[in-house]
């Protein structure tokens, strides 16, 4: 059993490390592998650095490393949130944004940008907007009495559409020079992500918390009545999933804008490859989503350097053919 879990997770861990190394080694500045290795060694061994290496240090430790780790965290958070959402709504087409959360976050972030506020305020605003949206959907569904996943889905979709309209309005009314920044945020952008530790910790904590719930999630996926008959406390578990998925998505969107596609496709791909045991799928999503986004971000910042692409474009361009290939092969 442990072998069944351990082998694929081990592979994914190796893939994650490999893509971290790639992310640290590639960039607009041409650093040789030797230089990168020296920086890593120096950082770990805490040797005093000399002048010649100062630039390499800044490049690797101040720019590439935080960005790569943020990419990993955001990718993992989105993939796990997507997997949870798919179990909650019992719908393989659900993604983390389907309940309107990214819309609320976008409104918060865009409002901060319009007000000319800086990076920290934008993140805080985004998180606030995400919370408001989550509570709104929660309140609307809870208040109406009989609660089913399809009701939750419908409410969320409508709320998301509402946020979409407000966002369009904001884009239409904003001064022209602010537009590119706003659009980049909406497309998903890691170009200034510098504080990876909180999303990483959140990802780790989530995996630890969610693992014991894994089998209950497997049972829940067979239907609420079946699950209840097998001893699962269905309603509390569903609310728990909703809150956890919302928190993960809020953290991801706050760090990097609304990056699409990762939350929908990564859980799907993994299910095609690894089956449906959530105890394997959820940590696998964390690793695979993180790896995918790290690679996508590395491409986004180097493909047409010095021009920068929004990473959401790359995830779609990479993800779609891969997914189609897997779908075709699994037939």
């Amino acid at each position: 059993m442990l072998v069944r879990l351990g082998f694929p997770l081990g592979l994914l861990l190796l893939a994650a490390l490999a893509s971290l190394i790639i992310a640290l080694g590639i960039g607009s500045a041409q650093l040789s592998p030797g230089q990168v290795w020296q920086v890593v060694l120096g950082h770990l061994g805490d040797i005093g650095q000399d002048e010649g290496n100062a630039l390499a240090r800044t490049m690797v430790l101040e720019l590439r490393l935080p960005r790569a780790l943020s990419a990993f965290a955001v990718g993992g958070l989105l993939a796990v949130a997507g997997a949870l959402m798919q179990v909650l709504l019992r719908n393989p087409l659900a993604d983390p944004y389907v309940l309107g959360l990214s819309g609320g976050a976008s409104i918060g972030a865009l409002a901060a940008m319009l007000g000319g506020l800086g990076g920290l305020a934008i993140s805080g605003s985004a998180f606030g907007g995400a919370l408001v949206s989550t509570l709104l959907v929660f309140g609307l569904v809870h208040g109406s009495g009989s609660w089913t996943p399809s009701r939750l889905l419908l409410t969320g979709v409508v709320v998301a559409a509402g946020w979409g309209a407000v966002i369009t309005l904001m884009l239409a009314l904003s001064p022209a020079e602010r537009l590119p920044g706003m659009l980049y945020w909406l497309m998903g952008d890691l170009s200034y992500a510098r504080a990876p530790w909180s999303p990483l910790l959140l990802l780790l904590a989530t995996c630890v918390i969610v693992m014991p719930l894994g089998r209950s999630l497997n049972v829940l996926a067979r239907g609420p009545q079946q699950a209840a008959a097998l001893g699962v406390a269905v309603r509390p578990l569903e609310w728990c999933i909703y809150i956890v998925a919302s928190l993960l998505t809020a953290a991801a969107v706050t760090t990097a804008g609304s990056i699409g596609f990762v939350g929908l496709v990564v859980p799907h791909m993994l299910r095609l490859l690894l089956g449906n045991d959530q105890r394997l799928i959820l940590p696998a999503c964390a690793l695979a989503g993180g790896t995918l986004l790290m690679l996508a971000d590395t491409l986004a910042r180097t493909m047409i350097a010095p021009e920068q692409l929004p990473v959401g474009v790359i995830t779609a361009l990479l993800g779609v053919p891969t997914f189609l290939f897997l779908l075709y092969r699994s037939r």
Partner: protein, 321 residues
């Protein structure tokens, strides 16, 4: 590389041991997070300090030798200040002066390739308040680079920016001359044209969506010194988005447009279908090369000259009728 460390006002690499370095970095990060970056070096005769357009004091120990300009306007202003030889990084569309095209580009003004920029080790970064991404410039400051923000909103602002950049770059004599010349020329134009018969003018910034400017915009101020009356001057937004109907209702005497490129008149031909417009009836459809009037740079003198002359033509055509 040696110059770079000489100008690292905040982040000093040399000689610090492990824990002290860590502590100073911690204090640095905390001060960054509080959002107030004070670059002030207290009471030091050797430092050159200037106020930027965000009312922050930016100080350097020695004249900037490696300047990064993060907008096409900033590039032009820096060259105008006489510091062209010291520019090591620009962004896309920095096409004037022609020498700027040979300088390494580090992305666009909306998304900068931070790695490329850091790799060029600039000792002064010229940012644009509303146009550059705030978070990326904050990252640069966190890495210890002095960032000087400019945002000229009027003619005096343009001249002042040139002077301040010249002082930071140590090219005071060249820059001062350009700034003074600019002030003189704009005053001359104003004296010549401002008090003439007002000409109702519509300046078209873009065609889809249709955009104009209000009186607070730099171009609006140019219209004013040329003796024009901006038909959309009272609009609340700096760059209002309007439609054809609004233009028809305002019925300007003269329509001035730029166009996508430098030689493109097709925005003006769009108006010819409305034969009732005064501007169309009198054939007052004028083209002013956009880079001469839409950038807050010394070339504004040329653009203003052209605009004033065009409005004068309209004036004469009216008197002829």
């Amino acid at each position: 590389m040696a110059n770079k460390t000489a100008n690292q006002t905040l982040f000093k690499h040399r000689g610090a041991t492990g824990p002290a370095l860590l502590l100073s970095r911690l204090i640095l990060s905390l001060s960054m997070l509080s959002g107030v970056v004070s670059n002030a070096v207290l009471a030091d005769d050797h430092s050159r300090c200037e106020m930027d357009d965000r009312s922050r004091k930016v100080c350097l120990y020695t004249p900037a030798q490696r300047i990064a300009t993060l907008s096409p306007g900033a590039t032009e202003l820096t060259y105008a200040a006489g510091a062209g030889d010291q520019v090591v990084a620009v962004v896309s569309y920095s096409d004037y002066p022609p020498e700027a095209k040979d300088v390494v580009s580090v992305g666009s003004h909306t998304r900068i390739d931070l790695e490329a920029l850091v790799g060029l080790a600039p000792d002064l970064v010229i940012g644009w308040v509303t146009g550059n991404p705030a978070e990326q410039l904050e990252t640069l400051e966190a890495l210890g680079m002095p960032v000087f923000y400019i945002e000229p909103r009027n003619f005096e602002g343009v001249a002042s920016a040139i002077e301040r950049l010249a002082r930071l770059a140590g090219t005071e004599s060249a820059g001062q001359a350009v700034a003074d010349n600019f002030r003189l020329r704009m005053a001359e134009l104003a004296a010549q044209y401002r008090d003439r018969e007002p000409v109702r003018t519509f300046y078209q910034v873009w065609d889809e969506p249709l955009m104009s400017v209000n009186d607070a915009h730099l171009i609006g101020q140019v219209i004013e010194i040329c003796g024009g009356v901006n038909v959309f001057g009272e609009q609340a937004r700096l760059v209002p988005r309007i439609d054809d109907e609004a233009v028809l209702a305002a019925n300007p005497e003269a329509i001035v447009a730029g166009g996508m490129g430098e030689e493109n008149r097709h925005w003006l031909t769009h108006w010819e279908q409305y034969s009732n417009l005064t501007a169309v009836a009198d054939d007052n459809l004028f083209f002013v090369p956009p880079s001469l009037i839409q950038r807050p740079t010394p070339r504004l003198m040329e653009g203003s000259q052209i605009l004033c002359e065009k409005l004068d033509i309209a004036r004469q055509r009216r008197e002829r009728d």
